[in-house]
Amino acid sequence: MQISDGLVYKITTYAILSVFGFVFLYPLLYMLSASLMSNLDLVDNTIEWLPSSLYTFNYEMTWKALKLPNAFVTTALLAGASTLSVIVSSALVGYGLARFDFRGKNIVFVLLLFTYIVPKTLFFIPRFEIFMALNLKGNIGALVVPALTGQGEQAALFILIFFQFFRMIPKALEEAAFLDGAGAVRTFWKIALPMVGPAFIIVGVYGFSIYWNETFLTSFYLEGKIQTVPMLLGDLQNTFGKVVNESGGGDFSKNPNLNFTEAKVFAGTLLSIVPLVLMYLYVQRWFVESIDKSGITGE
């Protein structure tokens, strides 16, 4: 809706958006400037935003403390595998709900809503038991298997997304395929799936970031056998001291720059989000386009 084409309105829009944008970006900018400061700069009252020199020591140390780039690869694999599983199961279930009628279909919808609304902690502890029994504890299966069976993180949402997209495909196409002798699986594979490209993008991008950032489940189910970047970030304070000692940085009492301050935390945090931001910059155009095309807002 065009409020008006007038200059005043345009300026107001810019102004409000910029204010919100600034509020929004403030933490990131603050972290960036602080992370580039040595500890001496931090306590120096005269230095607020611009460090006296670009101090990269924090980044070097946290790079090692967070075990990058290995941790990036591990986390990416973990998130990637889980995301793929979620995509597969959501597409299957979404198609089944969109195109077929069977008794109890409404019950399935209600149950789907139920699994979404109820908090994770409710199922948490018995699932742990089941994973132990199925030997899924401590390896990636703890995340992948639920994802494959439609119970992954926010799976109800993803099933819903595929559901909406599949419903938008004109039925005539599928009927034509049926008349030509294609079975359900063929129709699904060759006709329905290629037409819901945007759904793959939405579920893929959003799902990947959810699984990357997932610390609740990983810290519990993986038992430290696989370390993701967010988990390592939580541990940064402990690992930092070790890394500094190993690299022969010197004595803590002599060199004040070695103390663990917020500069190091910020450096670590910023490092940890770099891959996600890169990925996001790359796909953001398709992501927003796909949301626009979806009927998720209901028609």
């Binding site: 403030y26 195109r99 609304i117 908090p119 948490f124 018995p126």
Partner: protein, 305 residues
């Protein structure tokens, strides 16, 4: 059916009994069920059974020894009594969560609608702002939020320069502090608003421009067209967004309730039975919240559009 046989007599043709075949409809049903079978398996294994187990465990004192396996001792309502009456850290947190969410949700929704409307305007740099506001979808997690807030990253009070500037403009110290607190709060809520902004923006973009043009030709002011066109389109989504926001806030790792539940599992005097009772109470709180907010914001479909 009658046919003429070789002998020239008309004879009723015997209708051979058809072998029992599944009708089209039942074949369809079966295929549908097949497609959602993974979900059914998952639901039974990872939702239904754990739910039963959690409810079961909440009435017991559970302990697990590597040698003895799981041991259950029936304690009835003792876990619940302890949570509600004796060890009140959960009750306090639950109250905070309840009240907090009731206050935060309207603000988040209002902010999201405003920002979505602004992002829908024809301005240059639209893609830049979009990029900005959708960023939290990708990078937000409990660690990040915690790191940002713990070390003064989200508070302008920590930054003396800004504080002094504000103080010269607004000479009252308490007002400046208030602004600082507000800043931190709004910042946090903005980061949570990313997905609602997305949803509202997608809905707003569906409204064709011709709708507004027609309205303005008929003499509607921008305010009227906002009230009669934009708002009714967006309003049904509010209930959906509300559900999403509450679920998000409840499952967020930085939420202290989740920490309590996690730690209870390992706390020797509490263990899994206690934690299970906690989870059930928490679910009740959450469902109550969602029910209240959902019914408060549901659009009444009676009056036709």
């Amino acid at each position: 059916m009658t046919t003429v046989t070789a002998k020239g007599n008309t004879e009723k043709e015997k209708v051979k009994p058809v072998k029992t075949r599944l009708s089209m409809k039942s074949k369809q049903s079966l295929t549908g069920l097949l497609f959602i079978s993974p979900w059914i398996i998952g639901f039974l294994a990872f939702v239904a059974y754990p739910l039963y187990k959690t409810i079961f465990m909440s009435f017991y004192k559970v302990s697990f020894g590597l040698k003895t396996g799981w041991r259950y001792k029936w304690v009835g309502m003792e876990n619940y009594k302890r949570i509600l009456l004796e060890e009140i850290d959960f009750v306090i947190e639950a109250q905070n969560f309840f009240v907090g969410t009731l206050l935060y949700v309207p603000v988040i929704i209002a902010l999201s609608i405003i920002i979505a409307m602004l992002l829908n305007q024809k301005i240059r740099g639209k893609s830049f702002f979009r990029l900005l506001f959708f960023l939290p979808i990708i990078i937000l997690n409990g660690e990040l939020m915690e790191n940002m807030s713990k070390y003064g990253g989200m508070s302008i009070i920590a930054n003396r320069f800004i504080l002094d500037t504000l103080y010269t403009v607004i000479p009252s110290k308490s007002v400046v502090l208030l602004i600082g607190d507000l800043f931190e709060l709004i910042l946090q809520l903005l980061w949570y608003s990313a997905i609602p902004i997305l949803i509202f923006l997608a809905a707003l973009q569906k409204i064709g421009k011709d709708m507004y043009e027609a309205a303005s030709i008929d003499g509607a002011s921008p305010w009227t067209s906002f009230w009669k066109i934009t708002l009714p389109t967006v309003y049904p989504l509010v209930s959906i967004c509300v559900i999403y926001v509450v679920v998000f806030l409840a499952n967020f790792e930085a939420n202290p309730i989740n920490t309590i539940i996690m730690e209870s599992k390992f706390d020797g005097s509490r263990r899994e039975g206690y934690a299970s009772a906690l989870s059930i109470l928490y679910s009740i709180v959450q469902i109550a919240l969602i029910a209240i907010l959902y019914y408060a914001t549901r659009s009444r479909n009676s009056k036709g559009r």
